[in-house]
């Protein structure tokens, strides 16, 4: 096993150097220097084992035991997208297939003056210095092997810049499709989003898979939220039984800004989401909502960080899960309140329904508070369906399965209702209703 581990790591490092060798002058660019630093960090850290405290309950052994084609071509077109039955509304929709932007499938409708929106590769071609200056800025201190790996290999993704005072009318929807119909595929999208002062935007990342081979997605999104900006950011994962997903969203908020995150894991073999929010401003509020439904032998791990660095800000977090069969769930929520961050309010809650004796949920709130005038609370619950409620509903004529799904849907409702992009919320309501009814 350890040989195989070395294999994937070595293979990636070799691949990096091979690409570098044919880069000519580009190798000395700022962009590439950052990638090289990423590779060096990845080389030093290696893939984490369960001895690593951040990976104690999430074992990547299985994920790294095979190889993936990170440059797989795909013939995917509109017909295949039909199969994925994705809802549409008027939105900027960008498709990424196996990690690369597909202009044919995409539609950018917001007026050019309102926002800059393009693939990262195109943005880099147009303005290398600008892209390089944003790239890896928020994640530069991350001591995480997967983030470093993404940095080393980042090729494509989205680059969004919203100028000050712009309210973007149409949401931005990023659809990442892994085409795993023929072989194991890997992709490492990198999204860079910079939201100007007092600008408003809603965006969503949706991850899907085609085919039964393995897919490995290692995604990183960096979001800059300037003063008074308002950002709604959703991540929806509805991938295959053979999909491995590791993702980091790194956010930096400045004074009086608002940030809402919704992370919903509907399906996927192995999922690890890191959501790290640095509240680097006063009177900010950060909201984190999460929902997950693992079944079979699926594994869903959510790690979140609310890092309060300045006074008078608030973070508010609610994660919920329904676990079936032999599935595993992990929640680790860190709240840091730095010495300067007086009058911080930080709330965290994680609630789970475990429907099978073989399913497990590990929850770990982690509060590190270095200021004295703060309000923090956290709580986790893990339980079964409320039998009293079930009997009450059945005594009114509602069948047992219907009562179960009503209760479970109600359990999810306060998270789903937070999703403010209509087509995304309606999609979730449909998929969740089906999911809850099918068992």
């Amino acid at each position: 096993m350890s040989n195989e581990t070395i294999d994937l790591k070595t293979r990636l490092i070799t691949d990096f150097h091979a690409r570098e060798a044919v880069m000519n002058g580009e190798a000395s660019s700022e962009f590439h220097q950052k990638k090289r630093a990423g590779l060096a960090l990845f080389e030093q850290l290696g893939f984490p084992s369960i001895k690593h405290e951040e990976w104690k309950y999430s074992n990547v052994r299985d994920l790294i035991s095979v190889s993936y084609d990170f440059n797989a071509e795909s013939s995917i077109g509109l017909t295949e997208l039909e199969d994925l039955k994705v809802p549409e509304q008027e939105a900027n929709i960008l498709y990424f297939v196996n990690g690369r932007y597909n202009a044919e499938l995409s539609a950018i409708i917001s007026p050019v003056g309102q926002i800059t929106i393009s693939s990262l590769a195109d943005a880099y071609k147009n303005d290398p210095a600008k892209v390089a200056s944003f790239f890896n800025e928020l994640t530069k201190d991350a001591n995480d092997a997967f983030t470093a790996l993404n940095t080393a290999f980042a090729q494509d993704g989205v680059f969004v810049h919203i100028p000050d005072n712009q309210s973007v009318e149409h949401p931005i929807i990023l659809r990442f499709v892994s085409d795993a119909r023929e072989k194991n595929v890997g992709s490492q999208p990198r999204n860079i989003i910079s939201v100007g002062k007092n600008a408003h935007v809603k965006l969503a990342e949706a991850f899907r898979t085609l085919g039964d081979q393995r897919s490995f997605t290692n995604a990183v999104t960096e979001i800059q939220v300037a003063e008074e900006a308002n950002v709604q950011y959703y991540k929806v994962q509805n991938e295959s039984e053979n999909a491995y997903h590791i993702g980091t969203t790194q956010v930096r908020m400045l004074d009086r800004s608002h940030f809402y995150a919704g992370t919903v894991t509907l399906n996927g073999k192995f999922t690890r989401n890191n959501l790290n929010i640095v509240l680097d401003g006063e009177h900010c509020d950060a909201h984190m909502y999460g929902l997950y439904f693992p079944d079979g032998s699926q594994h869903v791990d959510n790690h979140t960080v609310a890092d309060h660095q300045k006074p008078n800000s608030e973070s508010n977090e609610l994660y919920k899960g329904i676990l079936r069969d032999k599935s595993k769930g992990v929640f680790n929520g860190k709240i840091f309140v730095r010495p300067d961050a007086q009058k911080t309010n930080a709330f965290q809650s994680c609630k789970n329904i475990v429907l099978s004796p073989d399913a497990t949920m590990n929850t770990k709130p982690q509060l590190e508070i270095f200021a004295d005038d703060v309000k923090c609370s956290h709580g986790t619950t893990t339980g079964q369906i409320d039998e009293e409620a079930l009997f009450y509903m059945r005594s009114r004529g509602i069948s047992q399965p219907e009562a179960m799904s009503l209760l479970m849907f109600a359990f999810c409702a306060d998270v789903v209702s937070q999703i403010k992009i209509d087509s995304v919320r309606e999609y979730l309501e449909n998929v969740i209703t089906q999911k809850l009814a099918s068992k």
Partner: protein
């Protein structure tokens, strides 16, 4: 000869039909402890039976067993409702057959609105009976009428079921649900407790307005007050898991006056 036979037959069938609920030597336990120790009771269509008795005597247990709560183990006897043995039925089947339990302690269900809950219930019961579901307009019209009947505030219908409802609002919601579902047999478990005097009257009027020659009611209560409004045909005293005394409506007055000691004494004397 034939005519006599036919007459007998008719009489038999009439008698059979005229019993809605028949409880025979019903025994039930929870966690190995026997709570119901042989209950016998017959309820005919249109009748109102009051069940009284000291705290902990098994009144709510009886109500729950009739509604099908699975925590209780039925260890003996049978229950026939409308000619069907109901003990093997799931709670939702019993509800669809026409049994309704107004809970002593209604359950709070966050995230499910009262109106949605009831719509699901109504349509699930219609499905059971092979009827088409009510559309939104039909349902709303019906619900508005019934809400008026028990002076149920519209805003409560839109809120999560019983969540944060006052004690009285919860009880009123039970009677409202009963009015919507129109059961053949309503079992009211201390629906009067927690109601103010006006609410008690409104709720009782709601119950009475549903009374008909085909519908029956079992009223579990500690107080004569409710029975002033919902006048029972029979009063039973449940004590230590048995019905130890039955009588006409005057029995309730006697109990209110004298308490239970004399009945307990009678029971102990018999052994």
């Amino acid at each position: 000869m034939r005519i006599t036979f036919a007459g007998n037959y008719h009489e038999l069938s009439f008698k059979y039909k005229s019993v809605m609920l028949s409880i025979n030597d019903l025994r039930a336990s929870i966690e190995g402890k026997e709570i119901l120790k042989g209950i016998n009771l017959e309820v005919k269509p249109g009748e109102v039976h009051a069940i009284m008795g000291p705290n902990g005597s098994g009144k709510s247990t009886l109500a729950s067993v009739l509604a099908g709560r699975e925590e209780y183990e039925v260890t003996g006897g049978n229950v026939v409702f409308d000619g069907k043995d109901i003990l093997e039925m799931a709670p939702e089947e019993r509800a669809a057959e026409g049994i309704f339990l107004a809970f002593q302690y209604p359950v709070e269900i966050p995230g499910v609105t009262t109106i949605n809950f009831l719509k699901t219930a109504v349509n699930e019961i219609r499905k059971y009976k092979g009827e088409a579901p009510l559309d939104a307009a039909q349902f709303l019209k019906m619900v508005r009428e019934k809400a008026k009947l028990v002076s149920m505030n519209d805003s409560l219908l839109k809120r999560a079921l019983n969540e944060g409802f006052s004690g009285g609002e919860k009880k009123r919601n039970e009677v409202f649900q009963m009015a919507v579902l129109e059961p053949k047999l309503a079992i009211l478990d201390e629906t009067d407790s927690g109601l103010d005097i006006d609410a008690l009257r409104i709720v009782a009027e709601g119950v009475n307005s549903l009374r008909s020659p085909e519908r029956s009611t079992i009223v579990v209560t500690h107080y004569q007050r409710l029975l002033d409004y919902i006048v029972p045909d029979y009063v039973h005293v449940l004590y230590k898991g048995r019905i130890v005394k039955s009588g006409p409506k005057e029995l309730a007055l006697e109990l209110e006056e004298k308490g239970y000691d004399w009945i307990k004494a009678e029971v102990e004397a018999v052994g």
